[in-house]
């Protein structure tokens, strides 16, 4: 090869070498450059700049270094690098909203972030160092961040019994029970006061085929313009959801149900003399309405009232709403039911009242003639008597649609594992969910919301019926569902779980019979078991005087004119009232209250006068309590306190109300012993003569 050609070639070679060197250096530089410009490093530098604008720079930068930060808790298997960018989470001075994210401090909560890490509550990926991978669902990492709106779900992973800090979770858990979700889906629900759906073995006595057709088609019969009826903040939604049934299915199911008359109707005769005497009187229904109101049926049952064009339900939601009940039930069935609900089905939760035939006749006439709607069944097609083929097809539908999961019925067993297992639904990854054609973001939260709001949105053949829920309730349900997760596999977690402590109060003996008969536990708490509508009776024996309890049971009154809820008039017999009173006095006692009141507890006119002065001037108790006609109505009316409460209870209460009734709103004060003596002496002088005793109340007793 000639020399000049060699030189030419080597120049070419040198050029190629130079170019490839530059490329090589450039490629080498990419990696450190990429690292230098990594978003997390930018956040670190931004934090340092931000800290320099704050007065406490030194403290904010005390632990600062340029690398990745992480919280490492081996026993919980926590490796969370979130603090690489969220650098201020433990700095109390960075709490307020003016601090830009991601530097803001974590709000103060009972669990410190450094002890628990971040992912335990917020989910997302603790190991990730990129914004998107840490927060969102990506191909490799499927657990997105839990929106703060549902964060209470994470509390529920360990706290399996309700805690006051998580109202949304508690509501959701209650709804999972109230709406009978747990009857089709496998899930862990803690024991709650709950009214189970009725047994249908004898529904043929109760309602007509036409009514059943209508109910199955559209269980909601009272709606306002928005499609909701609201009472005292609670939607009074029938617990029966809407099934998507066509006309033929409705005919078959109604044929099957309307022929269920397994046992003859219980005793339903009203003394013919009473009927003859009242039948012709024009005001029998009016008198029945008065009795209905006096007995406080509305404490459990709501009735719609239309005022100024607005429909509102007045009353509670323990029992079904009764506005159109007269168009539903057969009068013979109604009388038999009112006399003895448990004879219709054993686990009925309606108390068995003591009725006089006269009252029973009046109230049943009121229900059958006034609580009606002549248009209710107008859109139900004419149907001939049920044929055996229809009945057979209806029976198959009853099984196929899962009706037997909620409703007991003779001869049909509830299918097992009817709906999908939801006991770990909170751990489901996006790839385990079927979104169908739904145009929703592919996340677990959106899936659950879509499914609850419209079960067919993600699966057109879904068996799940349609519920009509308020937005808040959907959020509450999502929260409760997200709280049901697979346990993290760190053994330390098993120790952290705060299990629900099921407590059942089931007294025996004569009181036990009355307790079952009148369903005291639906409204009252007994040693942690029972409803919350009425005062806790756990310490009633220490609180109330015996004579007062008897008179209250015979004629329950309340002093809260605002409250629509009062104890129903059960018409207790003397023997029953005395059994209940004796039991309360013997058993429902507080260890904090001296059961043998000190006879030497002195009272004198001077002490009473001092107590009155303390009450009216120094402590101004009248801002919340009423005596006579003046005072506030936050606490109970004290006009008859001297005949109502025991002096030992009053003294213990003044010392520390929360020790007797946890969570009571009466504030704990720092009274001296002498002040307590004086106040007790004064309060015990407050008595009303029995004839005018209208103020003695239990409804206000605990709060």
């Amino acid at each position: 090869m000639p020399a000049e050609e060699m030189g030419k070639a080597s120049r070419k070679l040198r050029l190629a070498f130079a170019i490839s060197s530059v490329v090589f250096v450039a490629v080498l530089a990419i990696s450190p450059l990429k690292d230098y410009f990594a978003p997390w490093r930018q956040y670190k530098r931004a934090y340092a700049r931000f800290a320099n604008t704050r007065p406490d720079t030194k403290r904010l930068l005390a632990d600062y270094h340029s690398g990745i930060d992480q919280i490492w808790i081996p026993e919980l298997k926590v490796v969370d690098r979130c603090t690489t960018c969220h650098q201020g989470i433990t700095q109390p001075s960075l709490m307020d909203a003016s601090v830009p994210q991601p530097f803001r401090a974590h709000p103060s909560i009972p669990h410190h972030a450094l002890d628990w890490g971040c992912v335990v509550c917020h989910r997302g990926q603790g190991l990730a160092t990129e914004v998107r991978e840490a927060h969102e669902t990506t191909l490799g990492w499927e657990q997105p961040l839990l929106p703060t709106h549902f964060i209470q779900a994470s509390c529920g992973v360990c706290h399996q019994s309700d805690i006051p800090e998580t109202p949304q979770l508690n509501r959701g858990r209650q709804l999972l029970v109230d709406l009978n979700c747990f009857r089709c889906h496998r899930m862990n629900v803690s024991e709650r006061i709950y009214v189970p759906p009725p047994d249908l073995s004898n529904i043929g006595h109760k309602a007509s085929r036409e009514w059943i057709y209508k109910w199955l088609k559209e269980p909601r019969t009272i709606l306002d313009s928005d499609g909701n009826v609201v009472t005292n903040g609670y939607a009074n939604e029938p617990r029966m959801p809407q099934f998507r049934l066509n006309d033929a299915e409705l005919r078959d199911l109604s044929a099957f149900l309307s022929t269920r008359q397994n046992e003859p109707l219980g005793s339903h005769q009203i003394d013919p003399r009473i009927v003859a005497a009242w039948q012709k009187k024009p005001d029998v229904a009016d008198q029945g309405e008065t009795r209905f109101r006096q007995m406080f049926c509305t404490t459990c049952h709501a009735v719609a009232v239309t005022r100024a064009g607005q429909t509102q339900l007045i009353g509670g939601n323990i029992g079904p709403e009764l506005t159109k009940i007269g168009s539903k039930v057969n009068e013979d069935w109604l009388i038999a039911w009112l006399r003895n609900p448990q004879s219709y089905f054993g686990y009925a939760q309606m108390p068995r009242y003591q009725w006089s035939d006269e009252d029973l006749y009046k109230v049943s006439r009121y229900i059958m003639t006034r609580l009606t709607d002549s248009d209710l069944l107008s859109d139900v097609p004419k149907m001939d008597p049920p044929t055996p083929a229809e009945i057979q097809a209806g029976k198959q539908l009853f099984v196929g649609k899962g009706c037997a999961n909620c409703h007991g019925i003779q001869g049909i067993k509830a299918p097992k594992e009817f709906g999908p297992d939801l006991s770990a639904v909170g751990s489901k990854t996006v790839s385990e969910l079927m979104f169908g054609d739904a145009k929703i973001p592919h996340t677990l939260v959106d899936y659950l919301r879509s499914k609850i709001e419209n079960p067919t949105s993600v699966n057109t053949t879904a068996a799940m019926p349609q519920y009509h829920l308020k937005k808040e309730d959907v959020s509450a349900l999502i929260t409760a569902l997200l709280s049901m997760t697979r346990r993290p596999d760190a053994p330390a977690f098993a120790k952290l779980v705060v299990r629900a402590t099921p407590s059942k109060f089931q007294p025996a003996g004569q009181f036990g019979e009355l307790y079952d008969r009148y369903k005291c536990y639906l409204c009252h708490q007994f040693n942690g078991y029972g409803g919350t509508l009425a005062p806790d009776l756990s310490f009633e024996g220490s609180r109330a005087q015996k004579a007062w309890v008897v008179s209250f049971l015979k004629n329950p009154q309340t002093l809260r004119p605002a409250s629509t809820f009062r104890m129903p008039q059960f018409n207790f017999t003397d023997a029953e009232a005395s059994t209940i009173t004796d039991y309360l006095e013997m058993v429902m006692q507080s260890p904090q209250v001296n059961p043998n009141p000190d006879n030497s507890s002195k009272t004198s006119p001077e002490l009473v006068a001092l107590g009155k002065q303390l009450y009216e001037v120094k402590y101004q108790c009248q801002s919340c309590h009423t005596i006579g006609a003046t005072g506030g109505y936050v606490g109970p009316n004290l006009s008859n306190l001297g005949s109502w409460m025991r002096p030992a209870w009053i003294a213990a209460w003044l010392k520390n109300p929360q020790a007797l009734v946890p969570g009571t709103i009466e504030p704990r004060r720092e009274f001296t012993d002498q002040e307590i003596q004086a106040l007790s002496a004064f309060l015990m002088t407050l008595k009303q003569t029995p004839t005018s005793a209208k103020a003695g109340s239990a409804a206000g007793g605990s709060r």
Partner: protein, 162 residues
């Protein structure tokens, strides 16, 4: 030969640089999803205040203990407020409460009205609520205040490293 090499070079560079790009999500998140709880503006129910954990705990305690006298409607119906003389401040009344410091509010809640020369009708809650709970109630009142509450201006940097 040359253009092909250049192409290859550019492709390698483009591939390497593309890794540096970051994706930015453009969708605006629903503020409700980032709130522990919400409280409607008492004077305009369509307007919502989004509450964090502390404010939400304050709301819970407020609706248990305070609402009876410091709001015009209560979960049980009518309020005790109009029954009292002097009438207690509404908890969202910014014009009355914004000028009071957190310390003052903490004192009146802890020690009662008579301790700060106000009406003895306001009872002390220092033995019923913890200091954290009282602070949460104050945080809730600040969150729902109308006109809105502005925290006092932070003292400027006293020292700086630069």
């Amino acid at each position: 030969m040359k253009p092909r090499r250049l192409c290859l070079l550019l492709a390698v560079l483009a591939l390497a640089l593309s890794g540096c790009g970051t994706k930015k999500s453009t969708a605006q998140p629903d503020p409700l999803l980032h709130a522990y709880d919400v409280e409607p503006d008492w004077s305009n129910p369509d307007h919502l205040f989004y509450l964090n954990y502390q404010q939400a705990q304050g709301k819970r305690i407020f609706y248990d203990k305070c609402v009876w006298c410091h709001a015009d409607s209560t979960p049980a119906g009518p309020s005790n407020r109009s029954n009292l003389n002097p009438m207690p401040a509404l908890a969202n009344d910014g014009s009355a409460l914004n000028s009071l410091s957190d310390d003052y509010l903490r004192n009146i809640i802890t020690l009662g009205g008579s301790a700060v020369s106000k009406s003895a009708m306001m009872p002390p809650y220092g033995k019923t609520l913890t200091q954290d709970e009282i602070q949460a109630v104050i945080a809730f009142m600040r969150a729902i205040a109308q006109p809105p509450y502005q925290p006092p201006a932070r003292p400027g940097p006293q020292y700086s490293t630069r």
